[in-house]
């Protein structure tokens, strides 16, 4: 038990001791859990939280139990460390089938990942809390992810960052000290490696071998002024403020899908709190005259017709352009203009607000405010666990968005082909059946062997059951996000009933699902809340694939080409059938319609295939070859390219709908109010698991 604090034994110890025992008993009854990696994953892994009588917390501040449901990849373990550190004591960890959770302290109770494990774990946890909530022997929790590291940067060239003091290679100035999170640098290093997590980079930068952290002071208005001592700014005379760099902002660039109005790195806090300025990724083009014009491909500027130039080149021009494009007047120290020119009549040291705001990007209403970058994830309630969503907020509207998967989706080479299906299914807790099917099909294709025909319908039924379960899981998350607690509870219960149901059970659940659909469609104000939110139309929608595309009226569905489905009489449901547009409401209606359709397909198939291993399906597994398979997962088409060598996987490339959907977030949420933007993101049903290359 990770106790509250060393009990102070003293005059009051008797009274406080009695109180403490009472409080500890109360705490044991009042367990409130923060879910890692998320409610959706917990549900998909078969945990019925309502049945267990466990309250859930929206924020680590509210929780006293950190519930780790299933194994976590290293990047999420780091995030879990942050959440754990922010939970007030007394606090406890309940690990369900989590295995090694190293930077976190050892679990107070560990059980296997099942409903009975949860129940047993909770009972054990209650006893542990009642007995040990105020245990005197306590150690501080620290983890590499929490460490603060000192780095050295050039006041004039913030992109110059070094571990050691020295002078700037660009201008020769002495580098100055600054505080940064240890994760930052690791991420930078990792960004160049394939699949490099932030964690790998920690080695060498842990708190133990870093120099003792010391504070750095900077002027809020002139970020280029950095000092290691408190004092006043030489430019404007303001008191310098203590600063620390943000943690995750640069740690996760690998695999990030960056979208939005301009470069997200532009929008660090006021006064440019973080000034790593890595060059823009190659392949981004911008207009030399209109830096706000950014394009993925070369072409001409829509505003002036000039030929677009690669961005780094444009960025090097001058501070003026640079700062403007970076969109942060606080960063004016980047080069362009220092303090205001001396104007007669203005007292010395008077700081010009005009100068401060001049280079800020303007909102649609013409006001230039400061933008802040706010993380919404990886453990944000109502969003998929493992999704790293960062909004750049202009007030409460979204100016730019960045979504990335924090979950590695790598299949290590050298995996025996027989284990592929299991491994892939384990990697995607939100849609294991679909990934398993994908693996089986890829192996079958590699073997050139057709699956036994009698399996087709049953396997399709298994996929459809997974689809219903996935849609229900999504609906539960959406209900939570918009505050429909009763609906969430009802949907979660149905999800649990259906998750492992056989065909007969499915038929029994069908009326309840139909009633649910009617209830959801008939919920007052729900349509009002969702309609017009997160509109995706036209080509963008068609590219997104899956229910998002179908909701917008594109009849794209990989199942249409599948003979097994053809045999079941499958017909694509698209937006025109449900009669709605490509907004969040349309997606909800689309998914409800797909649930009905899937039930129908299961009924026609008559049986649901058990979780199949590729070994069961194929007489012998192929040892060499290259193959590709494509399956319509609940979120859209996924493809798997497989290269086999000597019975092991030499290369496996999985393409999930995540990247395509995440690319929509930026344009979709531009200038939306925060709550609406979050609903829009939730309505896409992102599955970050297995998405990172």
């Amino acid at each position: 038990m990770n106790g509250l604090t060393g009990a102070r034994e003293g005059a009051r110890a008797g009274v406080a001791g009695g109180l403490r025992r009472m409080v500890a008993r109360a705490m044991a009854r009042d367990l409130c859990a923060f879910f890692v990696p998320g409610m959706d994953v917990a549900r998909a892994r078969g945990l019925d939280l309502d049945a267990a009588g466990l309250h859930r917390a929206d924020t680590p501040r509210r929780a006293n139990v950190l519930l780790v449901a299933g194994p976590l990849p290293p990047s999420l373990l780091d995030a879990a460390c942050v959440a754990w550190a922010q939970m007030p004591r007394p606090r406890a960890i309940l690990a369900l089938g989590a295995g090694e959770i190293a930077p976190l302290p050892g679990p107070d109770v560990a059980e296997d990942l099942s409903q009975s494990g949860l129940a047993a774990g909770l009972a054990a946890l209650r006893r542990a809390v009642a007995a040990g909530a105020f245990a005197p022997e306590v150690t501080d929790f620290d983890a590499p992810a929490l460490a603060v590291r000192v780095e050295y940067t050039c006041p004039m060239h913030p992109e110059v960052v070094s571990d050691k003091p020295g002078s700037c290679p660009k201008c020769g100035m002495d580098l100055v000290e600054r505080e940064a999170s240890a994760g930052d640098h690791g991420g930078h290093a990792g960004a160049d490696e394939t699949g490099g997590g932030g964690r790998r980079g920690h080695e060498g930068h842990g708190s133990d071998n870093a120099p003792a952290p010391s504070r750095a002071y900077t002027c809020p208005m002139h970020p280029e002024v950095v000092s290691d001592k408190p004092g006043s700014c030489p430019k404007c005379g303001m008191d310098l403020v203590e600063r620390e760099a943000s943690t995750w902002d640069h740690g996760r660039h690998a695999g990030a899908v960056e979208t939005g109005n301009g470069d997200h790195r532009a929008h660090e806090g006021p006064g440019g709190h973080d000034t790593h300025d890595t060059p823009a990724p190659s392949g981004v083009y911008t207009c030399p005259m209109h830096p706000e014009v950014v394009s993925e491909e070369p072409g001409s500027c829509p505003e002036c017709g000039m030929t677009l130039v690669p961005k780094d080149q444009a960025g090097d021009h001058a501070g003026q352009v640079h700062a403007k494009q970076q969109g942060h007047g606080g960063d004016s120290g980047h080069g362009g203009h220092g303090s205001a020119p001396e104007v007669p009549g203005i007292e010395p040291h008077f700081m010009s607000m005009v100068d401060m705001t001049r280079d800020l990007p303007a909102s649609p209403d013409g006001l230039r405010m400061e933008w802040i970058e706010v993380p919404f994830g990886p453990f944000f309630p109502g969003l998929p666990g493992g999704l790293g969503l960062t909004f750049t907020l202009d007030g409460d509207s979204v100016a730019a968005a960045r979504a990335e998967s924090l979950v590695p989706g790598v299949l290590a080479p050298g995996l025996p082909a027989a284990e592929l299906a299991d491994r892939l299914a384990a990697q995607g807790p939100l849609a294991p059946a679909a990934l398993r099917e994908l693996a089986c099909r890829a192996l079958e294709a590699a073997a050139g062997a057709a699956p036994p025909p009698e399996w087709g319908a049953a396997r399709a039924a298994a996929l459809e059951r997974a689809r219903i379960a996935s849609h229900l899981n999504w609906l539960a998350g959406l209900a939570r996000q918009v505050g429909l607690v009763t609906l969430e509870r009802r949907v979660a219960a149905l999800h649990q009933r259906l998750r492992q149901a056989d065909a007969a059970d499915c038929a029994r659940v069908a009326p309840a699902l139909g009633a649910l659909g009617a209830r959801v469609r008939g919920t007052p104000l729900l349509r009002d809340r969702l309609a017009g939110i997160g509109q995706i139309d036209g080509r963008a929608a068609a590219e997104a694939g899956g229910p998002v595309a179908r909701a917008a009226g594109h009849a794209v569905d990989a199942r249409a080409d599948d003979p097994a489905y053809a045999a079941l009489g499958f017909r694509v449901i698209a937006g025109k059938d449900t009669g709605t547009g490509g907004d969040a409401w349309a997606r909800l209606v689309q998914r409800l319609a797909e649930i009905d359709q899937s039930l129908d397909l299961i009924a026609r198939a008559g049986a649901i295939a058990e979780a199949a291993h590729s070994a069961d399906l194929l007489a012998e597994l192929p040892s060499d070859g290259h193959a590709m398979a494509r399956v319509e997962t609940p979120r859209g088409p996924s493809t798997l390219h497989l290269t086999l060598q000597g019975g092991t996987i030499a290369e496996a490339r999985l393409t999930t709908p995540f990247a395509r959907l995440a690319a929509q977030i930026g344009p979709m949420t531009a200038q939306m109010e925060l709550a609406e933007a979050l609903t829009a993101v939730a309505s896409l049903d992102l599955d970050p698991w297995g998405a990172r290359p």
């Binding site: 104007v343 009549g345 203005i346 007292e347 008077f350 010009s352 607000m353 005009v354 401060m356 705001t357 001049r358 800020l360 209403d365 013409g366 006001l367 230039r368």
Partner: protein, 103 residues
């Protein structure tokens, strides 16, 4: 000599002084409005004090209080409206810059 009246009026005077100082010394339009608000609240205080200790039977005095309150609200409305407009066009509501950067 009515001590309560004196106390109330003195406090009104103090608020007036503070408000005047604020309105003159601040560089920012919004802060200037705050100074003016203080001056007006001093006026309110004086009116109520006079009403209470000299003429509690004259209801018109309270009518003036209501009007002054309305003036405060109106002043804030218009002031903030102008602040929004200035900020939109110039990116600043600093009065120093209003003087120097006209046009």
């Amino acid at each position: 000599m009515i001590p309560e009246l004196m106390i109330a009026l003195s406090i009104g005077a103090a608020l007036f002084g503070i408000g005047l100082y604020g309105a003159l010394s601040q560089t920012n339009l919004v802060m200037i409005i705050m100074g003016v608000e203080l001056v007006l609240s001093a006026a309110l205080l004086n009116m109520v004090a006079f009403w209470r200790y000299l003429h509690p039977d004259v209801t018109a005095a309270k009518m003036y209080v209501l009007i002054v309150m309305a003036v405060m609200a109106v002043e804030m409305t218009v002031g903030f409206g102008i602040a929004v407009a200035r900020f939109r066009s110039r990116g600043s509501v600093e009065m120093e810059e209003a003087r120097e950067l006209k046009g």
